[in-house]
C-alpha cells in the first residue's frame, strides 16, 4: 500500500465504518463486528505509514481546492504520525471497552453512539494528517460537531445543559479566536502550509505576534487552557467511554496536537521567545489551579476531568518554552497522557458499571472486589504523577530537561509542585481502594464485564510498556525538532 493511499484511507475507514454501523442497526453483533474490523484495519493502515515516515518521507495528498490557493490536503509528518498511531490503537481498545459498557449498562441509541464514535475517529485522523491549517481547522470543527451527540447521549436536561456548554465554549473559542487567527495568518503569510521553521517567521513581530499567539492559544479551546477549560467538566454528563474518547483519544489530544503544530510549524521554535514569554505563566497557572480543583473534587469523573485540564497544560507549557527538549517532551506527553488517562476512565467506567459508584468517598475497599481495575488505575496514576515505571516519567523527564535548557525555573517549579498535587489526588484513591475496609452491608459484586477489563489491562500494559520501549515515539518526537 502506497503511503498516499494509506493517508486517504485513514480518515475514510472510520467514516465508511460509520455508514456500515448505521446500516447494521438491526443486528447489534454484526454492528460491533463492523466497528472492530474497521478499527483493526485502521491500525494496519496507519502502521503501514510508520516505515516511510520514519525514513523521513512526507507524502502529500491534495484533494480539492477549497479556497484559491488553499487546498484540502493531507501531509503526514512525525507528530501527526505519532498522533495517528495513538488514536488508531486506542480506537480498537476503546471500542472493545465501549461494547462492554454499552451492553453492560443497557444504554439507548447504541447505533448512534457507535456511528458518532467512528465519525469522531475519522475527524481525528483528519486532524492528525492535515497538511495545512485550513484542513486542520475543518476537521477540528467537525470533531466538535460529531462529538456533540455523544456528549448529549442521554438526551435529558443535564445532557442538554452539558452539551450547550461543551458546544458553546468550543464554538466560541474556535470561531471567535481560532478562525480569525487562521485568516490573519493567511493574510500575513499568504500560505497556511505546515513548514518546519514556521511560516510566520519574519512576517509579524512584537504586539501583533503576541495577539496572534493569544488568539491561537485560547482559540484552540480543545487544549483547555484556562479559562477555556469549562467544556471539559461539563462534558462529563456523557457515558464514560465518551469521556475516555474525549479526554484521551480524540478531542483534548486534537487540541494539544494543534497547539504543538501551531508552535512548531506556524510560529517555528526559533520564533522570538519574548512573544511567548507570557504563555508559560498561563499554562502554569492552569496546571496548578486545575490540580487544586481536582484535589477537592469528590466525583471521580470530575476529578479526572480536572486532572486532564492540568495535564494538557503541561503540553502547552512544554511547547511554549520553545526548547527542543521540551517540545520532545510535549510530543511524548500526548502519547503518555493518552494511554494513562484512558486507563483511568476505563477504570472509572468499570467501577460505575459493576458497582454503580461515582464518588471517590464511596470507593472504600473497592480494590478487593475489582483488583484488576484498581491495579490498572494505580499504574495509570503513576504515569500521571510521572513516576517510573510508567511512560509519564519519560515525558516529564524531557520537559524538565527542556526547562533547564531554557533556564525556565518557573516551569520547573510548576512541574514539581504539580507532581506533588497529582500524587495528592491520585494516591488516596488507590490507598482507599486497597487498604480501607469496605462497608460490609454493601451488595457483593465482582469485576465489570470482561471486554472492559481486557481493554483496561491492555492500556495499563501499554502505559508500562512504553516506558521500557519508548524508542519509537521518541524517534518521531526527535524528528519533529529536526534531531
Amino acid at each position: 500500500m502506497s503511503p498516499e493511499l494509506a493517508m486517504l484511507l485513514a480518515p475514510l475507514i472510520p467514516a465508511v465504518a460509520a455508514v456500515g454501523v448505521a446500516a447494521c442497526h438491526r443486528a447489534p453483533n454484526l454492528r460491533e463486528a463492523v466497528t472492530l474490523t474497521a478499527s483493526a484495519l485502521l491500525i494496519l493502515c496507519v502502521m503501514s505509514l510508520v516505515g516511510p515516515v520514519a525514513a523521513g518521507a512526507t507524502p502529500v495528498v491534495r484533494l480539492f481546492e477549497t479556497l484559491p490557493g488553499l487546498s484540502l490536503e493531507f501531509r503526514i509528518e512525525p507528530l501527526g504520525m505519532l498522533f495517528a498511531l495513538v488514536a488508531s490503537c486506542l480506537w480498537l481498545v476503546s471500542s472493545v471497552y465501549s461494547i462492554g459498557y454499552m451492553r453492560g449498562n443497557d444504554e439507548a441509541h447504541q447505533t448512534r453512539f457507535f456511528v458518532c464514535f467512528a465519525l469522531a475517529i475519522a475527524a481525528t485522523m483528519g486532524i492528525a494528517l492535515a497538511g495545512n491549517l485550513i484542513t486542520l481547522f475543518l476537521y477540528y470543527e467537525l470533531l466538535t460537531l460529531v462529538t456533540y451527540p455523544l456528549v448529549t447521549h442521554h438526551g435529558d436536561d443535564a445532557a442538554r445543559r452539558g452539551g450547550r456548554v461543551y458546544l458553546g465554549v468550543l464554538l466560541f473559542s474556535s470561531i471567535l479566536l481560532f478562525l480569525p487567527a487562521v485568516i490573519a495568518t493567511w493574510a500575513l503569510a499568504g500560505t497556511l502550509e505546515f513548514v518546519p521553521g514556521g511560516i510566520l517567521a519574519g512576517k509579524v513581530s512584537g504586539t501583533g505576534a503576541m495577539v496572534l499567539l493569544a488568539l491561537y492559544m485560547f482559540g484552540i479551546g480543545k487544549a483547555a487552557l484556562m479559562p477555556m477549560h469549562r467544556w471539559l467538566p461539563s462534558a462529563m454528563v456523557a457515558p464514560t467511554p465518551v469521556s475516555a474518547l474525549l479526554h484521551a483519544v480524540a478531542v483534548v489530544k486534537a487540541g494539544v496536537f494543534t497547539v504543538v503544530k501551531v508552535v512548531v510549524y506556524v510560529f517555528g521554535i526559533h520564533f522570538d521567545a519574548a512573544v511567548f514569554a507570557w504563555l508559560p505563566w498561563v499554562a502554569g497557572f492552569t496546571i496548578i489551579a486545575a490540580s487544586l480543583v481536582a484535589l477537592r473534587a469528590d466525583n471521580l469523573k470530575r476529578r479526572l476531568a480536572y486532572s486532564t485540564v492540568s495535564q494538557l497544560s503541561y503540553i502547552v507549557l512544554a511547547a511554549s518554552l520553545l526548547a527542543p527538549l521540551s517540545v520532545i517532551g510535549a510530543a511524548l506527553h500526548i502519547v503518555a497522557h493518552a494511554v494513562g488517562k484512558i486507563t483511568l476512565f476505563f477504570a472509572a467506567g468499570a467501577i460505575y458499571t459493576a458497582a454503580h459508584k461515582t464518588d471517590v468517598s464511596q470507593l472504600d475497599g473497592i480494590g478487593r472486589r475489582m483488583p484488576w481495575t484498581l491495579a490498572a488505575f494505580g499504574i495509570a496514576s503513576l504515569s500521571m504523577i510521572g513516576l517510573p515505571p510508567a511512560v509519564g516519567f519519560v515525558s516529564k523527564w524531557y520537559m524538565v530537561a527542556g526547562a533547564l535548557q531554557a533556564h525556565q525555573w518557573m516551569a520547573i517549579a510548576v512541574i514539581l509542585v504539580s507532581t506533588l498535587l497529582n500524587a495528592g489526588y491520585f494516591l488516596p484513591i488507590v490507598y482507599r481502594g486497597f487498604f480501607v475496609r469496605p462497608d460490609p452491608n454493601e451488595a457483593a459484586h465482582g469485576e465489570a464485564p470482561w471486554p472492559m477489563v481486557a481493554a483496561m489491562v491492555a492500556t495499563a500494559a501499554l502505559t508500562i510498556g512504553l516506558f521500557f520501549y519508548a524508542d519509537l515515539p521518541l524517534r518521531f518526537a526527535r524528528m519533529l525538532v529536526g534531531g
Binding site: 480539492f64 467537525l142 460537531l145 464554538l171 485568516i183
Partner: protein
C-alpha cells in the same frame, strides 16, 4: 442563430408561459409548464454564463435599436452569476412544488400560483439581465406584484396582512427607485446603465446625483431587507406557501442585492460615492446592526419558518457588509454569499416545506419535538443547512465568512471581523434551538406524528444540501465566478 438570441429568450420564455398557463387553466399542465420553463431558463442561464466566460460581455439590443436609444440586455460575469442562481433555484423548486401546493392551496388557485411563479421568475431574470434602469423598474414590478399574490395565497389569514404590508413597502421602494432614476435621467438624459456611468462622470452639479443615490439605496434597501427596512420580510416568508418561501428565500433579496451592486459599481462608480459620502461606513454599520439584531431576534422565535426568515435578514447583512468593504475580498464574499446563502436557505426552506406538509401547515417549535427521529432526513438536512448558516468549515457558509473576515482584516477593520464572527455564534444559538428541539426533546401529543417528507421533495432538498457541502469543499466554480464578478465590478471603476 438561436444562440445569439439567448438573452431575450432567457426572460421571454418564462414571461410567455404565464399567459399560456392562464389560458389553459389546468393545474397539472401549469405545473409541467412551470417545470419545463424553469429548466429551460436554467439551461439558458448556464449557456450564457459559459459564453460570457469565453467571450466576455454580451450585449443584446432589443428591437435592434442600439443603446441608449433602445433597451439593451447585458450579460457580464456578475449578471451571469445571478442568472444561474435564480434560474437554478427555480429549476429545483418547481418540480417538488406540486406536492406542497396541492396540500396547501385550493385546486382552482393552483394554476394561478404557477402563473405567478413564472412571472416572478421572468421578473427576477429581467431585473438581472437588463442594462436599462427603467426596464429594470418594469421587471421589478412584475416580480413584485407576482410575489405579493403568491404570499397572499398562504393558508392563514396573516398571509393576507403580510402581503398587504409587503405591497405597501414594495411600492414605496419602487417609487423611491423611480424618483432616483428620474433624477439621474434629468441630469444625463439617458437611461442606459453603461451610458449613464459615462455621462455621470461629466456631471458638474452632484447634488441631484447624491439625492438619486440616496433614493435608489433606500428603495433597493427596502427590497433587499436591509436593516432597518426589513420589517416586511419575516411575515411574508412565514405565511407564504412553503414552496413560495423556498423560492423567494433563495432568490428575491439576492436579485435586489445584485441591483445594488450594479448601481454602486457600474452606474455610480465608487469614485463618486465612496468619496463624496460616507456610504461605506453607513452601509457597514447598518449591515452589522442587521446581522446581529436579526440573528438575535431569530433566537427568540417560536416558529421555525419565522426564525429562518429573520436569519435571512441577518445573512443579507453579511452580503451588504461585503459590499461596504469595497475591496476584492469583500466583494467576492458578497457575491459568493449570494449563491451560498441561496443554496443553504433554499435547502432549509424546502425541508421546512416538507415539515409543514406533515404537520398540516403548522411550523411552531412545539410541533417539532423529537422530529429528529420521526423525520430523520429532513431534520438532518436542516441541521447541515444550519451549520452553513453558522459558517462551519466544510459548508458553503464558511467560504463566504472566510472572505468576509479576510476582507475586513485587509481593510484593518478588526472590530468588523469580530462582530461578523460573533454574529455567527448567534446563528449557532438559533440553529441549536432546532437541534435541541429535534433531537433532545421528548415528543408529546402536540408534536407531529407523521413520517418522512415525500421522496421527490427530499431528493431536491438533499441535492441542495449536498451542494451546500460541496460548495464548502470545492470552490473553484463558486468563488471562481464570484471572483471574476468582483474583479469585473472593481475593474469597471477605472
Amino acid at each position: 442563430m438561436i444562440l445569439d438570441h439567448l438573452p431575450a429568450l432567457q426572460v421571454v420564455l418564462p414571461l410567455i408561459s404565464a399567459p399560456v398557463i392562464v389560458l389553459v387553466r389546468r393545474s397539472r399542465f401549469a405545473w409541467l409548464m412551470a417545470v419545463a420553463v424553469s429548466w429551460v431558463a436554467a439551461a439558458i442561464a448556464v449557456m450564457l454564463a459559459i459564453r460570457v466566460a469565453d467571450a466576455g460581455v454580451i450585449s443584446y439590443a432589443l428591437g435592434n435599436w442600439q443603446p441608449p436609444w433602445g433597451i439593451e440586455y447585458r450579460v457580464d460575469p456578475l449578471s451571469a452569476f445571478v442568472l444561474v442562481l435564480v434560474a437554478g433555484t427555480a429549476a429545483i423548486v418547481a418540480p417538488f412544488s406540486r406536492i406542497s401546493v396541492v396540500a396547501e392551496l385550493p385546486r382552482e388557485q393552483e394554476y394561478l400560483l404557477y402563473a405567478m411563479f413564472c412571472l416572478c421568475l421572468a421578473g427576477l431574470l429581467g431585473i438581472t439581465i437588463t442594462g436599462d434602469v427603467f426596464n429594470l423598474f418594469v421587471f421589478l414590478e412584475i416580480s413584485s406584484l407576482s410575489t405579493y399574490v403568491m404570499v397572499a395565497l398562504g393558508q392563514k389569514r396573516q398571509a393576507l396582512a403580510a402581503a398587504y404590508r409587503y405591497l405597501i413597502m414594495g411600492t414605496i421602494a419602487a417609487t423611491f427607485y423611480v424618483i432616483g432614476i428620474g433624477m439621474l435621467y434629468l441630469m444625463t438624459g439617458t437611461l442606459n446603465m453603461a451610458d449613464l456611468s459615462v455621462r455621470l462622470a461629466d456631471v458638474t452639479d452632484v447634488r441631484p446625483i447624491l439625492a438619486a443615490f440616496a433614493f435608489i439605496t433606500v428603495g433597493i434597501g427596502l427590497k433587499l431587507a436591509l436593516f432597518p427596512l426589513h420589517q416586511w420580510l419575516p411575515n411574508a416568508y412565514t405565511f407564504a406557501p412553503s414552496a413560495v418561501t423556498a423560492f423567494l428565500g433563495a432568490t428575491a433579496t439576492k436579485v435586489s442585492i445584485y441591483v445594488l451592486l450594479r448601481f454602486y459599481f457600474t452606474v455610480f462608480g465608487t469614485t463618486l460615492l465612496f468619496r463624496a459620502m460616507p456610504t461605506d461606513q453607513v452601509l457597514m454599520l447598518l449591515s452589522l446592526l442587521g446581522a446581529v439584531t436579526a440573528s438575535l431576534v431569530a433566537v427568540f422565535q417560536k416558529d421555525i419558518k419565522r426564525m429562518f426568515a429573520y436569519s435571512s435578514v441577518g445573512q443579507v447583512g453579511y452580503i451588504t457588509l461585503g459590499i461596504s468593504l469595497a475591496n476584492t475580498s469583500g466583494l467576492t464574499a458578497a457575491v459568493v454569499h449570494l449563491l451560498n446563502h441561496a443554496v443553504t436557505k433554499g435547502a432549509i426552506f424546502i425541508l421546512i416545506a416538507g415539515i409543514t406538509l406533515r404537520t398540516g401547515g403548522a411550523s411552531g417549535f412545539d410541533r417539532l419535538k423529537g422530529i429528529g427521529s420521526r423525520m430523520p432526513f429532513t431534520s438532518f438536512g436542516i441541521v447541515i443547512g444550519g451549520l452553513s448558516l453558522i459558517g462551519v468549515p466544510g459548508t458553503a457558509g464558511f467560504v463566504s465568512k472566510w472572505y468576509l473576515v479576510l476582507g475586513a482584516i485587509q481593510r484593518g477593520e478588526w472590530i468588523v471581523a469580530a462582530v461578523v464572527l460573533a454574529s455567527s455564534l448567534i446563528a449557532a444559538a438559533y440553529v441549536w434551538k432546532f437541534v435541541e428541539t429535534a433531537y433532545l426533546t421528548k415528543p408529546d401529543e402536540s408534536s407531529v406524528k407523521a413520517g418522512e417528507a415525500p421522496l421527490p421533495m427530499l431528493a431536491f432538498a438533499w441535492f441542495m444540501v449536498v451542494l451546500c457541502v460541496f460548495l464548502g469543499l470545492d470552490t473553484s466554480l463558486s468563488v471562481g465566478g464570484a471572483r471574476a464578478a468582483a474583479d469585473f465590478l472593481l475593474g469597471g471603476l477605472r
